[in-house]
Structure formats: C-alpha cells, structure tokens
Assembly symmetry: C2
Homo-oligomer: 397 residues x 2
C-alpha cells in the first residue's frame, strides 16, 4: 500500500508522506477505524439490495440524529456540503422580498444571509458582538414588530464557537410569531449539541457529514418539517438539484425499501455515513452519550486552557460556549499552530474578520472527543502545555 | 473484512452478500483495482500538502480530459452530480427571458430544459425523433432566425444512446450565431467520446465522476471558457454553492498550489478521481487510446447484437451511435435483464418514456470497456447469447 501511495505522491519527501498527523480542526474530523474501513465497501448500483438497506438505515438514523419521530417530517441526504444547505433553504421557501430574520453570531451566519439574499430575501440581521449571542429579549421585540417568514439560527458558529440557545429562541418564536419558519444551521452542532427537532418546533435543520457525525466530507444532511415541506411544494423551487420536491420521492422511496431515480446518489459516502451513524447509536448512551462525552471533553480542555494556561475563550458566557469547537484568544496564534503542526497535531487559525489574527481554533468532535483510546486530546493538551514554557521564537518552524 | 460486511448487512442472505455482480449499467461503472484501493487514501485536511498536490493534478488533468490548453478557461470540480451541472449553467449565465435553444435527443435533454426554465430561460426545443439527432440544417435555420444567448447540446443522451455531432453543430453556431454560448452536457461522453473544448469553441461542458472517467459517484466536473466565465461574473449568480465566481479563486488557488476556502471540499472523492484520471492518461495512447478502445468494444458488441442476434439499436445511424452505452430494442427486455442479473451481470431497463418498456440499456465505459483482462464484456456477450436459445419463460426468475 505504501508503495502505491508513494508513487502517487512522489513529489513529497518521505517524511512529509509518512508523518500522519492528528486532525483537530473543526472539520473534516478524524475517522474511527470502522468508518475508515467502510470506505471500500461501496461499489454498488443504486438498486443493489444492500444499498437500499443501507440508505434506508441512514435515513431512519438521520431522523434519530435530529430527535425527530414525526413521520411527516423528512430527512434528506445529498451530495454537497453545508453551504448547499443554505441554497436548499433559499431555493425551496424564499420568494422575492420575503422577510428573513438572521441571528448573526459569526462568519457563517453572514454567509447564510448572503445566500438567502441571492434568492430575493429581505434579510434583517440582529448581529451579536463577537463572542456573544443576541439577547432573547431583542429577538422577541424584533419578532413582535415585524412579520418574518423565516427565522435563521446558527446553532454553533465555527468562527466564534458561540452556541445559540435554540430551545429558548424557538420558544419565543412560537409564542410571538408562530407562523415564522424556524431554520437551524446545525453544521457544527448536530451530533455534539442537543437539538430536538420535533419538540422545539424546528422547521428545517441542515448539517454536513464531516463534523460531529464523524464521516467523510461531501454530504449535506438535512431534516424538513411538514410545514417546511408544504411551503416548499407550494412553489416551484428555484433550482433543480436543490429542489426538495424532486428529492422527496427518492428519500421516501428508499426509506420504504424502494429505489427511485432523480439524480445520481453519492453511494460511497452514503455507505460511510451509514457506519458513522451506526457508531453514534452504538455508543454507550447513544446520541446523548456522545453529546455528553463531547461536553466533558470540551470542559476539561477549557479548564486547562483558561485556568491552567490563563488563556481566554472567544465565547463570553459558558452557557453559550460550544462543545465541539474551541476558539481561543492568543497573543501569537501562528506560533502555537506551527508548534502543534510540527509535532503531529493539526489545528487552525481564526476565520472571523474581527479576530482573525488573534485566535486559534481547535475541533474536538466525533471520534477524537468521544473515544479516549484515540489519545488525540491527550496529545493536544500535552503539546499546548509545552508551548507555555517555550520562548516565542521556539514555537516557530 | 467479510465479517464486518456481514455484520453491517446482516439482513441479507449470505448468497446475496457474497454474490458480487459485474455492473454494466450506464453509470456508476465498475472501478479498476487501483481506483478501488485509492478510496482509503483520503483522510486529509484541505491544507495538507498531499491534498494540495492531488487537487492540483486533478485540475490539470481535467483540462486534458476536455482537450483544453487555454489557460483562461477553467476546470471546476465540486460535490454533486451531472444534475447540479445544469444548475451551474442556470445560476451563472441565465437571466430572466434569456433565449435558449435546446437540441433534444432524449430524457436528459428534457431535464436540462426544465432546469434552465427554473432560472427564467425561454427555452425553444428542437426535438429529434427517438433514436435520431436534429438535422444540422434545421439547427442552422433556427440559429439564423432568432438570437439565442445559449445553445445546449447533449453529447450522448443515456436514455437513447444517440451521439450528437458536437463538432458539426458548433461549426454552424460559430458561423451563423457567433455570440451564442455553446453548452455541452458531456455526462455520458467525456472519457469515451471525443470532445475538443478549445478547437470546437465550446463554452461550458459538464460531466460526472461515475461514468467513463471511472471514479465513484458524487462529483460534478466541468470546464468553462473565458467567455462563459466573463458572462458569469457579469451578474450575481442565482445560487451560492453553484456560483462559479465563488469557486473560481478556490480552483485557481489549488491549481497554483495554494489552499483557499469557500465550501468544504469533497476530499475523499477528489482523491479517487485523481487516480482515475491518472489511469486514463497512463493508458496506451492516453485519452484518445481509451476512446478508441471504447469504440472498438462497442462496435464488437453492436455487431454481435445486430448481425448475430438480429436485435436493433435505438440509434438509427451508426454515425450518431454512442460508444459508452447501448440502448437496444427487445421484445421482452425484462427477461434479458433478469437472466443476466441472475447470472451475475447487472444491466438496466429503458428510461425514455416512448421506449421504456421496449428496450434494455447496457453501459460499457471505463475499466469494463478498456481493460480486456476485466472479462466483463465477455461475460456480458456470453450471457446475452444464451438468452437467444432459451424459451421466454426460462429468462425469468
């Protein structure tokens, strides 16, 4: 195997090639051994009975992933990424001049706004200070003042590690503006933060395969409520591939064990997703157990970073601090990123324009955060501790 | 390995599980051993120097795949499928009431029309009879009569196996309507039919990973001319994920060996595509050698089907008969499909509404068509010959 790898990457030095590093960025994440192994399972036609069973199980497990039991809600899995999920919202429910309220807690909320504007939405942003959420009272006032068709919440913004109170916000929305569709960007939260799709009256939630779910990048995974589907089907979608009306018979069919064709299915990645989802529900305590394990891992990390090393997290309040990603202020973030990279652990730099050069970002989701035998968190914390005792120059390459 | 597979697919009988069948549908196709093996290479971050080299090589080889040397044209590779490629055309160059001429040779041309209509295009279809192409003279008259912004050609429609004369059509377009953008749907042709992007003045060509290229399903691959890009960049795209303006700095960056971020890249499938593309150019005679091998394979198959078994192909003219897919009239197509399936070879049924129950379809692209050591074509022809000597009842399960 190594020989063929060497042939393929023949321009790299042997050291660059064999030095497998631990990936601790906020996605793509490290894969478990089983998920890795599953990558070769997947040479099947879409009508293969094994694939039908696989996709059926994936869709059923996707319902569980979103805590949804309502059979009129529908999960969708398609080739793409989280970004395509914003397009799915725009293409299916936005008509020209529709009013959208966006709770902006970072870089990804801003991109979500830009996407919906492409579909003609009039987006009002309530922007939080960096590291903060929008106060519930402000949201309540805004929703009372104007009729919004859509309310968008980024559950965790990967650029700030701020965690939104989706439950609190959706309660308010239901109270003061019950007709507003509640959309959640769950890219950096599904699988590592609690989201109760049915109970919290969520209408649409999107996520991607390469984060807390622990699969490979390349899939958009989403869940739509009956109300969202009804609104989608009431107009012609402004896209072919993004149209839920086109995908609905396909996913409904596979869930019932029947094959249907609309566009080519991403068979290999769906097979990998299947194993990743099975692993989530086989974990002690299932999905909740994984979320709890991720929470504990992040609390230990944050305690070390803040109490032991005196660093400061970007999120200002522990109640609105994410558990699958940490964004940490640092005087010289590049030095710590380089030191870790040179010693086998990949973390990454800032993304949000206001704090880009002032922080580093670490992902701790999925296998790395939930399976202590991976040793990834120990490796991370050991290296971060070492940076404390080095003069700044030595951090650098 | 078998144990873990058995555990995953535990509802299937052992026979269903181990009976690996040869896939000869018009995509997804069988993978070569090297492409299969490459599926496990891909646990990398987007900034990994190995991935940067990989994606760089993929993009450079994609230019060669389309026979394009013009550095102002640009290849793109994104998560998706051929269907998303139609959206890319719509989102980037179609404005409300733009005139489009669609040469309709089957099911996929019709879907392309529907997609562009979603973006506001006024589409005029010149529809060929089933099995035929639109006469060049008719195209010439139509292009002379009306100013079309866009002309769409399906090089091979998988529902009819009709092959368009893209060179001839584009020559006419250049002559009578030089400002018209020429778009080619090359999903079932790139890698197994000749397309000269620069020489034939093509402005946009889309294809997908799971057909003649011989990789796994899940990627949209396309090539845009300078003129197409200019038109795209002159308006705001009507989609975020589909916007070439958003992807341009990313693919340009990776081609130059730099990493840039817009949306999550499909790292595992790009690595698989890399190996598939390398295999194409390592084939004796390179891309042309593969195309020639596919042509010879299809000619042998067609001779057997028509001369020996007396069957009739759907395409009426050998000059407009595709080489990577065969659509064959048959009195009882389901019997032949079942017989082959029961004996280890998967082919498929009709798709075009007018001939759905009157034909079967066979794919012969990539590894199966180009590497005689696969034995796939021999297996196929042996089984088809056997059906001739069986009474109709015995074909069925």
């Amino acid at each position: 195997m190594l020989n063929s790898v060497k042939k393929i990457y023949n321009k790299l030095t042997y050291n660059e090639l064999v030095a497998e590093k631990v990936i601790l960025i906020p996605g793509p994440v490290e894969l478990s051994a089983k998920v890795k192994e599953s990558q070769t399972l997947a040479i099947m036609v879409p009508t293969d009975p094994r694939f039908v069973l696989t996709f059926q199980r994936v869709l059923r497990n996707t319902r569980k992933l979103f805590n949804s039991e309502n059979q009129n809600a529908q999960p969708f899995v398609m080739s793409g990424s989280g970004t395509l999920g914003w397009d799915v919202v725009g293409a299916n429910v936005i008509r020209k001049n529709d009013k959208v309220l966006m709770l902006n807690i970072g870089y990804f909320s801003s991109s979500f706004t830009k996407t919906l504007q492409l579909y003609g939405a009039e987006v009002k942003e309530l922007a939080a200070q960096v590291g903060e959420t929008v106060p519930l009272q402000t949201i309540k006032e805004e929703l009372s003042k104007t009729d919004y068709k859509v309310l968008c919440i980024t559950q965790v913004d990967t650029s700030t590690a701020v965690l939104s109170d989706v439950e609190g916000i959706s309660k308010i929305a239901k109270e003061v503006s019950p007709d507003t569709l509640i959309i959640v960007d769950g890219v950096c939260s599904i699988g590592c933060e609690t989201l109760k799709f049915d109970e919290w009256n969520i209408d649409f939630c999107l996520t991607a395969s390469q984060k807390a779910i622990g699969a490979t990048p390349g899939l958009l995974i989403c869940m739509a409520s009956e109300r969202f589907l009804k609104e989608s089907f009431s107009k012609r979608a402004s896209g072919m591939f993004t149209s839920l009306e086109n995908w609905y018979p396909i996913v409904k069919g596979y869930e019932n064990g029947e094959t249907k064709y609309f566009a080519t299915l991403n068979i290999p990645l769906i097979c990998t997703l299947d194993v990743a989802l099975q692993e989530i529900f086989a974990y002690p305590g299932g999905l909740e157990g994984r979320i709890e394990a991720t929470r504990k891992t992040s609390e230990r990390l944050h305690s070390m970073l803040c109490n032991e090393l005196g660093l400061k997290l970007v999120p200002k309040d522990t109640n609105s601090t994410a558990h699958g990603v940490s964004v940490v202020y640092h005087d010289d973030p590049q030095s710590i990123i380089s030191y870790l990279n040179n010693n086998g652990v990949i973390i990454t730099g800032g993304l949000h324009k206001d704090i880009k050069s002032k922080c580093f970002r670490v992902g701790h989701m999925g296998y790395s955060a939930c399976d202590p035998t991976s040793g990834h968190m120990r490796q991370l914390t050991t290296l971060i501790r070492q940076t404390k005792n080095l003069p700044p120059q030595q951090h650098l390459k």
